[in-house]
């Protein structure tokens, strides 16, 4: 939002750009597209919380609408994002975690329209994020110093669908392998003087599949046999309700309620599969944002939010008893931004929240209080944006400072350079600190994890595509890991320091109106910097060094085919770097045919894992084999949008 305000402010005094700098005549000084993501015909989704994102941040945005009909869940949509590593348990609806730039999943802050989804420093399961409610996924890579505790490696901001002024109905149905059915339907339009949106969605999958298993794994030449992954079913359903209204005196209101319920079998591990373990969960998220613009280019934004997530486990190692836990939170934040001195965008944020956990092992709670001050200044006629911020957070007994310094330099002919430097931290979670979970016992003596990060990227944007190449470096200390604790227990300890460095390349080109090609590549080096000789200087486990995604789509809009390759190199699974999971490469093919234009009706066919490669989850349990899906999508603009 500050970026938009700055844009307005600078339009008047800014001198005309020199001839031949590549900009179109009459253009204002452009800000990076990533910071002004508003679509051309609609108001921006105010609840996306752009207020905290630094313009210099290295961010990748994924829009599900670009992948309509491809039967992709939220995790699959993020699979191509450079710097992101996903770890899925295998199959539709099975748990999937996200790692950004080598930070563990608990070091990635996941927000739903600005509302933190997980408990304090808890990993968020992406499988419970329904794709039909998502408008776009923003992945901020590098320490999210402006987002507060937990964003050690980055931030995933899930922006839900925005209400529209014109009435629209939309629906999608997918049927495919493993008895998988995905259904969603929604409507948007004018409502009570504003704009409303309602989405219903559901998904079920039997999930069972066969795989090749070698029971005598250490005996050279021993045969494989066919086994079935069972107890892998999932069921998920929910709804999203949003409302947006422009109120008198420059006040805007955005409200969102999202609810999701799910149930799934827990297949266990390849060595010890479980036939009766299962999980049930319900999540409700609420957010209301009020924005008021003041004369003099000031703006106040207030967000109130609440979150409730309950999940329960039974069967398997949990026995006949139900192990249920509920994490909840509620809070509010106020953010004021003000243009000053012609080129400064000053802002301040204060927030407070309370978070609770109810679990058989304890019921901890704590309060969080945060304050952030920030300045963005435009230099060189607006071509150079320098932003600096400092944030202080008090999370229960922990205090963290999160400074950030960044710069974005827009060069002629579509080139741009960005760089960031900062510090982030992750306080231990409730479970790590206070609550026993079966064999996992807590450690109240834990210190927060801390990360220092720096990155830089150079990009080139053109009407037919863009390319961005960036590198990053981060130092982490006091990383937390569960270690054996007698008898038969595991306990978290601050064990090490580590360095993480890497390279991220992202390119997209549309040489012809009917040809689109994109590719991303991630290179990730990790190294343990403080440990005993068994672990010292070893790579951190579960961090594949290479990840490559390439995609090609060919054809006119009404009939196009696509293919993609996802490659991930092997990865160590222990700290001594002696055991590995093998590399893998998945090839997916698909085609979409537009059957009708008004209403828009399209049919898609998707063939995943064409080569039937047996990938593995982090425990070595095989991932789904080749699978086919058929999707029917409908979008009907019932009433043409009223001209204002």
């Amino acid at each position: 939002m500050v970026g938009v305000l700055l844009l307005i402010a600078l339009q008047a005094p800014s001198p005309s750009p020199p001839v031949g700098d590549g900009r179109g005549e009459g253009d204002a000084i452009p800000l990076p597209p990533v910071d002004v993501p508003a679509p051309p015909e609609e108001a921006p989704a105010a609840a996306s919380s752009p207020t905290r994102r630094a313009p210099s941040a290295v961010t990748t945005t994924v829009e599900p609408t670009e992948h309509r009909g491809e039967a992709k869940d939220t995790a699959a949509l993020l699979a191509s994002t450079p710097g992101v590593t996903l770890a899925g348990a295998g199959g539709t609806g099975q748990s999937t975690s996200i790692s950004v730039r080598g930070a563990a999943s608990s070091g990635v802050l996941v927000l739903l329209d600005g509302v933190p989804l997980g408990g304090p420093s808890e990993s968020v399961d992406l499988a419970t994020i329904p794709t039909p409610v998502v408008e776009r996924l923003e992945v901020l890579k590098g320490g999210g110093a402006r987002y507060g505790p937990g964003a050690l490696g980055g931030v995933l901001n899930i922006v839900t669908l925005r209400p529209r002024g014109k009435a629209r109905l939309f629906a999608e149905a997918t049927q495919g392998a493993f008895e998988t059915t995905l259904l969603s339907a929604g409507a948007t339009g004018e409502l009570l003087g504003g704009q409303g949106l309602f989405v219903l969605h559901g998904a079920r999958s039997e999930g069972n599949f066969d795989y090749a298993y070698r029971p005598l794994s250490e005996l050279a030449g021993s045969p494989t046999e066919a086994r079935a992954r069972t107890n892998n079913a999932s069921l998920l359903g929910g709804a999203l309700l949003k409302y947006r209204a422009e109120l008198p005196k420059g006040v805007a209101l955005d409200a969102m309620v999202e609810g999701t319920a799910y149930a799934r079998g827990l297949a266990g591990t390849i060595d010890n599969p479980t036939t009766d373990a299962h999980e049930q969960g319900q999540r409700a998220t609420f957010g209301a944002r009020v924005t008021k613009a003041f004369e003099g280019a000031g703006e106040l934004e207030v967000l109130a939010w609440g979150r409730l997530h309950r999940n329960a486990f039974a069967g398997g190692a949990f026995g006949s008893d139900v192990y249920a836990q509920t994490d909840s939170g509620a809070g509010a934040e106020a953010h004021y931004s003000q243009l000053a001195f012609g080129r400064h965008g000053l802002s301040a944020l204060v927030s407070g929240s309370a978070e609770w956990l109810q679990a058989p092992g304890g019921n901890p709670s704590w309060g969080r209080f945060s304050a952030m001050a920030r300045d963005e200044v435009l230099l060189l006629g607006g071509d150079l944006t320098v932003d600096a911020s400092v944030r202080v957070d008090r999370s229960g007994p922990f205090t963290g400072f999160s400074p950030h310094l960044g710069a974005l330099w827009l060069l002629p002919r579509g080139f741009e350079v960005r760089a960031n430097l900062g510090q982030a931290h992750r306080p231990p979670s409730f479970f790590e600190l206070y609550v026993q979970q079966g064999h996992l016992i807590p450690n109240a003596q834990l210190k927060p994890e801390r990360g220092l990060y720096a990155d830089g990227a150079a990009g080139f944007r053109h009407g037919r595509g863009f390319v961005q190449v960036g590198g990053f470096y981060a130092l982490y200390e006091d990383l937390i890991s569960y270690e054996y604790y007698p008898p038969l227990l595991a306990r978290p300890v601050n064990f090490a320091a580590a360095r993480v460095a890497g390279l991220e390349v992202e390119a997209r080109v549309e040489p012809l109106s009917w040809v689109q090609a994109s590719a991303t590549y991630s290179l990730l080096f990790t190294q343990n910097l403080k440990d005993d000789p068994r672990f010292y200087l070893n790579p951190l486990p579960y961090r594949p060094r290479h990840k490559l995604h390439a995609r090609l789509a060919v054809g006119p809009r009404w009939l196009y085919a696509r293919g993609e390759v996802l490659y991930q190199s092997d990865q160590f699974v222990n700290r001594t770097a002696t055991l590995t999971l093998p590399e893998r490469a998945f090839v997916n093919l698909g085609a979409t045919c537009e059957l009708l234009q008004e209403p828009k009706l399209s049919l898609s066919f998707e063939l995943k894992n064409l080569l039937d490669v047996q990938g593995m989850d982090l425990d070595g349990y095989p991932l789904p084999p080749r699978a086919a899906y058929l999707t029917l999508s409908l979008t009907w603009d019932v009433v043409p949008e009223r001209k204002s």
């Binding site: 010890n272 003596q445 320091a497 000789p533 222990n574 700290r575 002696t578």
Partner: protein, 588 residues
């Protein structure tokens, strides 16, 4: 803006502390890590070497057991001609000292080393030959230096030797990443490494790691050596893995018999290892200063026994079929997996013992005991299963427990299996400690209740000296910070299985967890020289008790030990707060 930037930079609290951290119990010395509490070359501090035959105990150089300090020298008054029978009591010129008395010649088969009469089979200062002291506090047994006990430290990835009697331990030696189970294979110590899923090796008695290793399945719980074969029980990987030496009886196919472990006969009737042709031998004659001569057969050998102190006696004869080692580099045992048995997903095999051509494998998760025919190592197969879960587990208060068979031993045609007998919900003891008894022939099964003997949660059983020794982990109580506060019904039960006569030893931590007394959490145990040694998985210690002639047990090393406190075998990493003796074996 500038001020804000400056503030930002100030809040960057500096780079993290980095660098190698020595494993628990060791500290940085130069480019490496040394156990300064027991390392004779770095005793107390880096570079502080002990003189002569001194050993390093608790960070201080001192005379080893059997020697006394005379004029700044540690001497054996039993045989030292200058201190024969006491300090300064020199024998006349030409006399020798034997049994603390001067004499004209050595008698009774004693070996003359200078003017001292010694038994080179037992003398740790002249072990096997004159002037060959054993390193650190190793014992001399049958003319070879050896540790009496070896303990594995899982948490810190180390092994350590302990001398029985003196109860002094040697330096901590790194071995693998997480050695959980250890076993002796001739001159090699094998360790099942859980962290790396490997079978790693160390040279005995130095305990220095060898480069050879084999891949194991996941979660190796026990390694058993039987004859030339090695059995590994992979708990998570649910397999019984059989390994055996590569090649003809373990000797490399390319090595001619005489080029390997053959010893050269010397003119004076002794023997020595060939210096230049020891390709197949484990003990190369590398003694510095050894004068090598060309022998009649073209090889090289030492000139004479007394010359330059280079004589290396033959090691004790290897058991029949014991393999030689591959290559002159002493890489270690060349083993290969020849057979594997899948016990079934989710079964969690926990241990193994051999009787004849059968291996017996208890399954922790299902509560069964498998009888496995291993007569053909390449195709082990289950021939019978004994359901231990169906035994009367006698749960407390009518609850329900799982048998959780965790370890096994055999004696007199019977198999003895410890049953943890834990509550299904809490994994705490839900019934008395039990010992299942299975007839190896009829497969009839019954239980011996150990609970009435003060034992809960039995975790290890050992058959020795006609008795059974059972380690009981007890019931642990933690404080609010999950520090171990107390453990009740923990210790050792010594049981005569035929009469059920028993004795119990329970090390009592009287002052509780926060009174400076760290509770013991028993793990594996070993029996040696009439003593029971009990590993501790809480403080990394070894407790010891003497077996009295009347069958009683008295604490030797422990909270109230007659000889002092427990042996601090494994180092404690302050960041972790505990240390784990994961296995403890006695070497013959």
């Amino acid at each position: 803006m500038k001020r804000l930037s400056l503030m930002s930079l100030l809040f960057l609290a500096g780079c993290p502390e980095t660098g190698v951290v020595c494993r628990a119990g060791t500290q940085r010395c130069g480019n490496g890590c040394a156990d300064t509490s027991t390392d004779s070359r770095n005793c107390g501090t880096c570079g502080q070497a002990c003189f002569g035959t001194q050993v390093c105990v608790s960070g201080a150089c001192q005379c080893r057991t059997g020697t006394v300090l005379c004029n700044g020298q540690c001497v054996v008054t039993q045989s030292d001609p200058k201190n024969c029978g006491g300090c300064g009591m020199a024998c006349p010129a030409g006399n020798v000292c034997q049994n603390r008395a001067c004499a004209a010649t050595c008698a009774g088969g004693a070996t003359r080393c200078g003017a001292a009469c010694v038994d080179v089979l037992t003398d740790p200062t002249n072990c096997g030959s004159c002037g060959n002291p054993c390193a650190d506090s190793q014992s001399c047994r049958a003319g070879a230096c050896q540790w009496d006990l070896v303990a594995a430290c899982y948490t810190s990835g180390q092994v350590v030797g302990v001398a029985s009697g003196s109860d002094v331990r040697g330096p901590l030696q790194p071995l693998g990443s997480g050695p959980f189970s250890i076993a002796q294979y001739g001159p090699v110590l094998l360790a099942g490494d859980v962290t790396d899923s490997r079978l790693v090796q160390a040279r005995l008695p130095s305990l220095q790691q060898l480069s050879e290793f084999n891949a194991l399945g996941r979660g190796v719980n026990q390694v058993l050596v039987d004859g030339t074969q090695v059995y590994a029980v992979n708990s998570t990987g649910h397999t019984l893995q059989v390994l055996q030496p590569v090649g003809d009886a373990g000797c490399p196919a390319v090595a001619s018999p005489d080029a390997g472990c053959a010893y050269l006969a010397l003119a004076d009737g002794g023997s020595a290892l060939p210096l230049g042709a020891d390709a197949g031998c484990f003990y190369p004659a590398t003694d510095a200063g050894c004068v090598a001569v060309r022998l009649d057969d073209g090889g090289l050998g030492p000139l004479a026994l007394e010359d330059a102190g280079c004589f290396t006696p033959p090691p004790p004869p290897a058991p029949p079929g014991m393999p030689c080692f591959q290559g002159a580099s002493d890489a270690g045992l060349k083993l290969a997996t020849v057979g594997e048995l899948d016990t079934g997903t989710g079964t969690l095999p926990s241990a193994v013992v051999k009787t004849g051509s059968f291996a017996w494998v208890p399954l922790l998760a299902t509560g069964d005991l498998l009888k496995v025919d291993v007569s053909d190592a390449k195709s082990p197969h289950t021939v019978a299963s004994v359901p231990l879960q169906s035994l009367n587990l006698r749960p407390f208060d009518g609850g329900s427990t799982a048998a959780y068979p965790s370890s096994i031993a055999t004696q007199s045609g019977k198999l003895y299996v410890t049953l943890n007998n834990l509550d299904l919900g809490t994994y705490a003891p839900g019934g008395p400690g039990l010992l299942a008894v299975v007839d190896a022939t009829s497969l009839d099964a019954g239980v011996i209740e150990l609970g009435s003997m003060g034992c809960l949660n039995p975790v290890a059983v050992l058959a020795a000296q006609g008795k059974l020794f059972i380690s009981c982990a007890g019931a642990a109580t933690f404080d609010m910070n999950y520090q171990l506060l107390s453990v009740r019904s923990a210790g050792v039960v010594m049981l005569d299985p035929s009469t059920l006569a028993h004795a119990t030893w329970s090390p009592q931590c009287s002052s509780g967890g926060d009174g400076g007394c760290l509770p013991i959490l028993p793990s594996k145990l070993a029996v040696r020289d009439g003593r029971i040694y009990l590993g501790d998985q809480n403080g990394g210690r070894i407790f010891a008790a003497d077996i009295q002639p009347d069958g009683g047990l008295t604490e030797r090393r422990g909270y109230a030990g007659a000889m002092g406190g427990p042996i601090q075998a494994c180092g404690v990493d302050p960041a972790v707060g505990f240390s784990n003796v994961s296995d403890l074996i006695s070497l013959p």
